[in-house]
Symmetry: C2
Subunit: 397 residues, 2 copies
């Protein structure tokens, strides 16, 4: 069996569920009385608990960031390209923690959980969780795991917003902050796309005000549309051109409303498969967290002032064809960090893949990302990758 | 009452309906046995019938391009900024013809018309009409009006595609072709957005396979989503930032799913008002015409070869922040025209308004467009605008 699992994979992994009994007061003023977080960890926490790396996930992500749950899994975790033995986030040296955020639909407390106050599923009553609330819950997670300070908090897209929020709200609890394909806040256009997705879901007659479970149904059409639209914004115009162009499904036009072009059937397929697996209330909630995120709101809308609280070092990475969170948005973060006198490295990666690039093993991206993780390793006194590679048993490659 | 109508307006106008009894064979092989076209005309056709300008409309456009239908109208026709006495398309000198295309929902034969073969409304059985079919129907319109050769065929967006098609299929019937904010064919991303809109409409339970009229309903939700999405692609990221930014509707976040940001309520309003007035089957059909358009398909996908048939002169205009049909797409047309040895002028207009810019009276745009229309006027021996202005009765300004 192990010959099916690549040697640079973390292998078979198992999620764990951690319960938190202390109520969590949210940005909205509402309180989650108790909750659970589902996590996965890869690698070993070292003796001085200094080698922990937190992975924050994006809109539809979860705790399963690397490895396989069973030998039947067709695909590994969502960031397997970056996490594993000898990989960029090297599990031979780092202890990696990935979680499903509150409000999620992969096992952490969310709309599909039982509300202890009513004994019924939260559904649409699950409170809207802000990025700062997630970070608050992640601080408790760090406490539980005995991690006083993360070697690094790392996130792409919405995950990068969580990493930024860590640096502002809990400056002493991370040494490095990696913000990838992210933005300091959404633009009107970003919000507009989210709003179309939300309307698609909430206007679906099967949504029933979020109580679709009570009606034994799911707003599949709305979720499908939301995902189709999402996909367009994750890919670049270039990558869609390369991937699909104007390629037809048959040798001529249908002159009806069947899918004529490959890109149409691809999107339909993506939308349909997502709509069967993702929770609609979670989707709504995640998009609101995105919309609301703007840490400068408490600092006169001055991002440099906002980030001046940070004590960690930063790495910011963007991708040339990412039009959801363009390089310009990353440069706003970088400029604010420089204005705040912080240490920041920045790389703009030439990549055709659009926003999705942050999940793709693009050589220069992995190179830049990996080099930065080497400085993280050096900073906490871990052996360099070469030393670590050399220490492997012979023939392990 | 006339004091309410601006002096540079064509004033009160009335649509006319023209019937065509000759069957129209379509690109799809299907035949429309008879049809009517609704048109408006502004200005006077001159004695040698040389001063006619055809206006081709975009996705949701129609024949009402300028002036007012009644003194109660709050808004003039959709291109009133460009058409009128003394305006860029100067109705003091040109005879302007605007029509609603076949398949439309503003009076020309379309899904809401009675199918003479069944005595019932066409609905979803109305054939998909290609851009070349529209042009074919417009040729018959020209014949009916006694216009052997248009001084110019002018169109923005999907209208620009019709103008291009005129130049290829009927080279002797136009002297000038103005292609504004258009593209030689859609990209995969363009098609993808259209497909999301189509899915939104056709998956709306009120769509009933296009027979919503039989169920005394309208797929309003789907049309609303399609329009909201359309709007995002018509505006630029910049213009949305300028227009809305992250401005809130109330002084704080709702922490529910009400519209928090101005951009959300703007889109909802736009979507709702459109969904009450536009026909869903027409929307589907128009998006398919866009997707299918690629005149190079009959010429080994070589656009220069395709355009080599043209005998007219060309003016191509694009707008810097138009990301639906970016300047790059216009340059493809210009490059092909140059390669084909055609006369072409090209202007890329600095404008924040995105695709919608072609409808907006941006000074440099009107200047460039107006200068080109002056060369059109000179080419057919019309007096120059200054001469024409001088010929106005004194005090008319």
């Amino acid at each position: 069996m192990p010959e099916q699992i690549p040697e640079d994979s973390v292998g078979l992994v198992q999620p764990q569920t951690l319960h938190f009994d202390e109520p969590l007061e949210l940005r909205s003023g509402r309180v989650i009385p108790e909750y659970q977080l589902v996590i996965e960890t890869y690698g070993e926490l070292n003796a001085d608990r200094s080698n922990a790396v937190l992975i924050c996930h994006a809109l539809s992500g979860h705790h399963h960031a690397a490895g396989y749950h069973s030998m039947e899994d067709r695909k590994p975790g969502w960031w397997d390209s970056a996490i594993g033995p000898g990989k960029v986030i090297d599990t031979n040296r780092f202890f990696v923690v990935a979680l499903n955020n509150l409000g999620g639909c992969h096992g952490s407390t969310g709309p599909q959980s039982i509300n202890p106050e009513t004994g019924k599923e939260y559904g649409p009553d699950f409170p809207i969780v802000a990025v700062r609330d997630w970070v608050k819950s992640q601080v408790r997670l760090a406490d539980r795991l005995g991690i006083e300070q993360w070697a690094a908090v790392v996130g792409g897209s919405l995950g990068g917003m969580q990493a930024m929020r860590w640096s502002i709200d809990h400056p002493q609890r991370l040494r490095h902050c990696l913000v990838i394909a992210s933005a300091p806040k959404l633009t009107a256009q970003n919000i507009a796309f989210n709003e179309v997705a939300r309307q698609a879901i909430s206007k679906d007659p099967e949504f029933h005000g979020g109580r679709y479970k009570d009606h034994d149904t799911v707003p599949k059409r709305g979720l499908m549309l939301a995902r189709m639209l999402g996909h367009i914004t994750y890919l670049s115009d270039d990558s869609m051109r390369e991937k699909f162009g104007r390629e037809l499904r048959r040798d001529k036009f249908s002159f009806d409303y069947e899918a004529d072009f490959q890109v149409e059937s691809y999107l339909r397929y993506q939308g349909e498969s997502f709509s069967g697996s993702f929770d609609a209330n979670t989707y709504l909630l995640m998009t609101k967290a995105l919309d609301y995120f703007d840490p400068s709101i408490d600092h006169d809308y001055d991002l440099a002032k906002t980030l001046s609280a940070a004590e960690c070092k930063f790495m910011v990475i963007s991708f040339t064809t990412d039009w959801r969170f363009s390089p310009e948005r990353s440069r706003e973060i970088v400029d604010a960090l420089i204005a705040a006198g912080k240490s920041v490295s920045y790389a703009e990666i030439e990549a055709a893949h659009g926003h999705d690039a942050f999940l793709i093993p693009i050589p220069r991206y992995l190179d830049v990302f990996g080099r930065y993780m080497e400085t993280v390793a050096a900073d906490i006194g871990l052996p360099s990758k070469t030393q670590s590679d050399n220490s492997r048993p012979e023939g392990s490659n």
